[in-house]
């Protein structure tokens, strides 16, 4: 644990964050926040079927990486991936349309909320089976290394994911091959309903294990977009420069339940309230005001994002349902699903 106190130093040498970047960090956090809230509303209207896992409260992490990454970098997300997908510039109607099972959805309704993907924007998929995407992200990083493109792969996952085998294999593999991949553990204190502390041998499920892969321990406040941004920049830079992988543990909290079905009753009293005070979007706004941004500027941004979400919602609602005839399309590269001649 002594190593973890050192972690903040890694951000020490980095440049200050410019005003434009700060505003972009705010704007992006708002986009994720408002869009997730809209997704929640659409549920209540029964316009979204199936399940859904919101990132409410965790937006600073996705936003910081969204701003820090190069357009051709790769993102790998989990089922809780709406925010990370949007943060790379995927179309909002594409996201909402997919949740609603419409033709305009990123996956035409085939993937659903847990599998958002937008290859054109570098979003290489959302994976719903815990741990699988860590080695896959390593593979994309390997490909970038092999092709010499200086692309970086960023892979997001939760605290609970650190206890599955694929985590271990991916970390060791990536370090041995010195791959340009950044592993980002969003520690929101819970797996589904079980506190991570009840099922994990160490206090910090990711950073206390970094040394097992010869990596420095990095702990960061996942609700602080600035700190996240600087940490992201450092890790991405390191990867791009051939310095190999990083493992970042960002502490945060999800405001809603694990998924649509979860009222979150397992939370001790007062826990949610405490974390609501640390709401990344609210606290970032306060910081911007302190840093000399004026209220009308921020209101403009807020209104702009509201309009964007409304427009995306309208487009998605207006979009047609997928065609039943398309069900048996795109199993194979030739577009078909034929397993026989």
């Amino acid at each position: 644990m002594s190593a973890s106190t050192k972690s903040k130093k890694t951000t020490g040498a980095l440049p200050e964050i410019g005003r434009e970047t700060r505003l972009e960090l705010y704007r992006l956090q708002l986009e994720l926040r408002y869009c997730e809230k809209r997704a929640y509303d659409l549920f209540l209207q029964n316009l979204i079927k199936g399940t859904s896992h919101l990132s409410l409260g965790q937006e600073a992490i996705a936003a910081a990486f969204g701003v820090a990454m190069r357009p051709d970098d790769y993102t790998f997300c989990t089922y809780r991936g709406h925010a990370h997908t949007l943060a790379r510039g995927a179309s909002m109607e594409g996201v909402l349309g997919e949740l609603m099972g419409r033709q305009c959805g990123l996956l035409g309704g085939k993937g659903g909320s847990m599998h958002l993907t937008d290859v054109a924007k570098g979003v290489m998929g959302s994976y719903a089976i815990i741990g699988a995407h860590l080695p896959i992200a390593a593979g994309a990083a390997w490909s970038a290394q092999y092709r010499g493109t200086k692309q970086v792969a960023v892979c997001f996952f939760g605290d609970g994911t650190t206890n599955i085998g694929a985590f271990h294999e991916a970390l060791n593999f990536s370090v041995v091959w010195k791959l340009p991949v950044v592993f980002v553990c969003e520690n929101n204190l819970y797996m589904e309903y079980t506190p991570i502390s009840a099922v994990t041998a160490v206090a910090n499920p990711a950073s206390d294990r970094a040394s097992a892969y010869g990596l420095p321990s990095i702990n960061v406040d996942g609700n602080d977009a600035d700190e996240m941004y600087l940490t992201a920049m450092a890790a991405i830079e390191k990867a791009r420069d051939g310095g190999g992988p990083s493992l970042i543990e960002a502490r945060t909290y999800r405001h809603s339940g694990h998924s649509r079905a979860d009222p979150g009753k397992y939370r001790p009293e007062g826990e949610l309230e405490k974390w609501l005070k640390l709401d990344p979007v609210v606290t970032y706004r306060e910081r911007l005001l302190k840093f000399g941004f004026n209220d009308p500027t921020l209101k403009d941004v807020e209104n702009e994002v509201h309009r964007k979400v409304d427009a995306a919602t309208a487009t998605a609602k207006a979009s047609a349902l997928p065609l039943i005839a398309d069900i048996e399309k795109n199993v194979w590269a030739d577009g078909s699903a034929a397993w026989r001649n």
Partner: protein
């Protein structure tokens, strides 16, 4: 007889067996304090305490490995794998270890354990949370495989699985969890390896499993009423051991066999049954054997797409009419 949901029948069976046998323990992810993500095990922690009902990390290999190690040293573990799709992350423990150790050790090691898992489509969860994978399990020598369609069978067959000295994969169809049905009161234990004839007909024998049993029954009713086609419906219930006697007897009576599988087409359990019928009651068959399956594709997520992918009542009616006409 009380009315129970399919979901509550799970907890009822586990509680019944935990009460009578202290060597029965239960482990899984979010199963204890939270009562399971499908709420199928609510109340067990309260009733049997944290020593016997245990929450686990997201470590499916460790969960099933622990269950296996416990089973070979005197306990009778029930392990939950939350969604059957996740069997893939611990498939080595299931297929190479649990299934084989008794044989490899020439009978030295016993493996009395149950793996319960939520199987199948209908919840719009997409391709990684909706698969029907009962054929994955049937394929592996050394595993028994059960998939109930009714709350009473959930209770009776799960209790039987827990008492069975061999490893049993117990597939609960997740969209059946809210379904209600009569369940015998008091201690209730059924028998593995017995199919049930739910309806007797003359023209065709429909063999189905789990969710598909309900669709088969609905289709049979429509076929009878609207088209005058009279169908036998057999609920397989247990893929291993397989009640070939009942199936072959019923096929022989009608001369026609149609299987209805939720698993994707290739190497589904229906293929196995079709191949048995094509060999053993070939001369009783009056026409081709027909399989109705989910097409051989990953499952799409959107409700409209999902509903048009797994076999529907309309499709069953349509295809059986085409077969018979």
């Amino acid at each position: 007889m009380a009315e129970l949901t399919y979901r509550d029948a799970v907890a009822a069976a586990i509680a019944q067996e935990m009460k009578r046998d202290e060597s029965v323990v239960f482990l899984g992810e979010d199963v204890a304090a939270a009562g399971g993500v499908f709420k199928a095990t609510v109340g067990l922690l309260e009733q049997f305490g944290p020593k016997r009902v245990r929450d686990c990390p997201i470590s499916e290999q460790a969960i099933l490995g622990a269950a296996m190690g416990a089973a070979m040293t005197g306990l009778k573990p029930i392990a939950e794998i939350m969604f059957s799709d996740f069997l893939a992350v611990c498939w080595d423990i299931v297929a190479n270890e649990i299934a084989k150790i008794r044989y490899m050790t020439d009978g030295q090691v016993s493996m009395p354990l149950v793996i319960r898992t939520a199987n199948g489509a209908g919840s719009r969860f997409g391709a990684q949370h909706s698969q029907a994978v009962e054929n994955w399990a049937m394929m592996i020598p050394g595993l028994k495989v059960v998939a109930p369609a009714f709350p009473a069978d959930v209770k009776g067959l799960l209790a039987a699985a827990i008492r069975d000295p061999d490893p049993v994969l117990f597939f609960e169809q997740k969209s059946l969890y809210p379904m209600k049905g009569e369940v015998p009161d008091g201690e209730y234990v059924d028998q593995l390896g017995k199919a049930k004839v739910l309806r007797q007909g003359k023209d065709v024998t429909i063999v189905a499993l789990a969710l598909m049993v309900h669709r088969a029954l609905d289709a049979a009713a429509i076929l009878e009423k609207e088209y005058g086609i009279s169908a036998t419906v057999v609920d397989v219930r247990s893929l291993v051991p397989l009640d070939t006697q009942t199936i072959l007897t019923e096929v022989a009576k009608t001369g026609r066999l149609v299987t209805i599988e939720e698993n994707p087409r290739l190497c589904g359990w229906g293929a196995e049954i079709a191949s048995i019928a094509a060999e053993e009651c070939f001369w009783d068959l009056d026409g081709p054997i027909h399989r109705i399956t989910t097409p051989h594709i990953p499952l799409p997520a959107a409700d409209l797409l999902e509903d048009n992918t797994i076999p529907s009542v309309e499709r069953i009616v349509r295809e059986i009419r085409q077969q018979i006409d």
